[in-house]
């Protein structure tokens, strides 16, 4: 579990910051138009930021709980 978690953290970081937050994916939402009253570009990044905070919080809390559980 531990080595795979380490690998998972690196992959998560690479996918998030070198793929999802980068072009060409950003290019798909890079139109100066509004979506639900918010620019698509801002909306996309806002959602990713929120996901980052939630997913990272879950990962870190799980790691800490496991560590505490194992003594």
């Amino acid at each position: 579990m531990r080595k795979s978690l380490l690998a998972g953290l690196v992959i998560y970081c690479l996918i998030l910051f070198l793929v999802l937050y980068q072009y060409p994916l950003l290019g798909l939402v890079d139109e100066p138009k509004l979506f639900a009253g918010v620019p698509l570009f801002v909306f996309y990044i806002w959602i990713l930021n929120l996901l980052y905070i939630v997913i990272t919080a879950i990962i870190m809390m799980t790691v800490i709980k496991k560590q505490e559980g194992s003594g």
């Binding site: 080595k3 910051f17 937050y21 698509l40 930021n49």
Partner: protein, 523 residues
């Protein structure tokens, strides 16, 4: 009563509060380097979160982000994304450094590099570069707030007096209580800067009709502000990629951020920062960016983006909000300068003075450190004062930022690659600096569409690898690597569960017991 007097009274109350915190910090701080510079490595979740958040967010959040958005649009989000990456890297750099700092008694950034590569030359290069490069940054912060104070007092408080008042306040509370005072003031300052930018936004949105109305009005007048590269074509995909990486990697290597890795209470405290700090930075960026867009609607046609925040403040905010915003601006600026001056002072004391006079005791270093805080802030203000508006301040700050990011491959190699040696590290830094200076200061800033700062990092990494592979690792270096490996085994595995991960049967306590006595005499 004149409005500016009310604003100054609010500011005076704020100054008295931070001075009181400084005094309280002084009463409980011991005369040891660890206690003075790192709050005894005992910062809990709330204090660590706010000191990291407030240290990283300077007056730039009020003036710079709003101005950038006004001129170039929502492309400023790159900097917020960089904040997230920076925080995530705490897992790979911050947590291992917390553990190493505790085991080997690191106080400064250069302590780690000097120990790992067994090189005092490297220690001196890093310390001198940070001190020379970042001192003018202190000046630029003092000048921005000094000018604001002069403007709101309608010239009654002269510019020089305003800068002096600012400098004296930071000097007193920082030098008195060290990291403990800085962390507590950062908590107050972080809340103030976040709170008052939010109130500012609320007032401005009230005039415009809410967030959807704001976006619709910007879309109707200047739609290119709502996408990248923006109206002036600045934020190209290459710029987005390069700025984001350099901002994140430079941020994690910045001396005032780095020392906070040593100051946490436990590795868990640092692990929580990976998502707690981004909550604050994301909110701050979101509010600042929207304030910049409010400027597009309410004050179109300003000659420079830097003017948007002061203009909105003067023309559109009620007096009590203006007073709060001035305090928020001071808080944002002071929270960066206090942390920076403290980190630079520790570097001068420990990396330069203690190197020249190894027999000097800790309490003398703390005493000298207090004087260095005064010296660094005065020097920064003088450089800023006399070089205001000249190329010197920009040049030195740019160079220091570049070097910060250049250190990233050296840090990663130091932690994760046993074959990396001091020749590789020094050669890598020199090559990185040359590329950084050439591209960022003399141009072209983009080579093959990639930002020069990124080329500097790549150049440093490649040189480090090649030189390390063709030069030997000295016996002393190998011993340092062994000591670090024993403490970490694997930094990430240590964080998760070292026994299961690497089948290491000894406990951390057993491991430390063989290392600490040799390295930390007091243990």
């Amino acid at each position: 009563m004149e409005p500016w007097i009310i604003i100054l009274l609010g500011l005076a109350a704020y100054i008295l509060l931070v001075l009181y915190i400084g005094y309280r910090g002084y009463k409980v701080t011991k005369r040891t380097l660890e206690d003075y510079y790192l709050a005894g490595r005992g910062l809990g979740i709330l204090l660590l979160m706010f000191t990291i958040f407030a240290t990283y967010q300077s007056a730039y959040m009020y003036i710079g982000v709003t101005g950038f958005t006004y001129e170039h649009g929502v492309g400023i989000w790159y900097s917020n994304v960089a904040n997230l990456l920076w925080a995530f890297l705490f897992i790979f750099i911050g947590i291992p450094l917390w553990r190493l700092g505790k085991a080997f008694g690191y106080i400064t950034q250069a302590d780690f590099f000097a120990h790992r590569f067994n090189s005092n030359i490297l220690r001196l290069i890093i310390a001198l570069w940070m001190v020379l490069g970042l001192t003018p940054y202190i000046g630029s912060q003092a000048l921005a707030t000094g000018r604001t104070l002069t403007t709101i007092s309608r010239g009654v408080i002269a510019f020089g007096v305003a800068v002096m008042l600012y400098a004296i306040t930071v000097i007193i509370y920082t030098s008195l209580g060290g990291m403990r005072s800085v962390a507590w003031t950062d908590l107050i300052q972080g809340l103030l800067m976040l709170g008052f930018i939010f109130v500012t936004l609320e007032v401005l949105l009230g005039k415009i009709g809410g967030i959807p109305a704001l976006f619709e009005k910007v879309y109707a007048t200047k739609p290119e502000l709502l996408s990248i590269p923006g109206p002036k074509g600045l934020m190209t995909p290459g710029a987005w990629f390069g700025f984001l990486l350099c901002d994140a990697l430079g941020g994690i290597m910045w001396i005032q951020n780095w020392v906070r890795f040593y100051a946490g209470k436990s590795w868990k405290t640092l692990a929580l920062m990976t998502f707690l700090v981004p909550i604050g930075t994301t909110l701050m960026f979101f509010f600042s960016m929207l304030v910049g867009l409010c400027g597009v609607v309410l004050e179109p046609g300003l000659p420079s983006g830097d003017l948007v925040f002061p203009t909105l403040m003067v023309k559109h905010l009620p007096l009590w909000v203006t007073a709060g915003v001035v305090i928020g601006l001071f808080a944002a600026s002071m929270s960066t300068v206090d942390s920076l001056s403290l980190a630079l002072s520790s570097s001068i004391s420990k990396d330069i003075i203690a190197l020249a006079k190894p027999e000097i005791d800790e309490s003398s270093l703390v005493r000298l450190g207090r004087l260095f805080i005064i010296a660094v802030i005065i020097a920064g203000c003088l450089v800023g004062y006399y070089a205001a508006g000249t190329y010197l301040v920009v040049l030195l700050t740019l160079l220091s930022l570049s070097l910060s990011a250049i250190l990233f491959p050296v840090a990663i190699a130091a932690l994760y690659w046993k074959r990396a040696n001091k020749y590789g590290a020094i050669a890598g830094i020199i090559v990185g600096i040359i590329i950084g200076v050439k591209t960022l200061l003399f141009g072209p800033e983009f080579v093959f569409g990639i930002y020069g700062g990124l080329w500097a990092i790549i150049g440093c990494a490649l040189t480090l690898i090649i030189v390390s592979l063709i030069t030997p690792v000295s016996d002393k270096e190998a011993k340092s690597v062994e000591q670090i490996s024993k403490v970490l085994a694997s930094p990430i595995a240590t964080m998760i569960d070292i026994n299961d991960a690497y089948k290491v049967k000894t406990t951390m306590k057993q491991r430390y017991s063989t290392i600490i006595p040799r390295l930390i005499p007091s243990a």
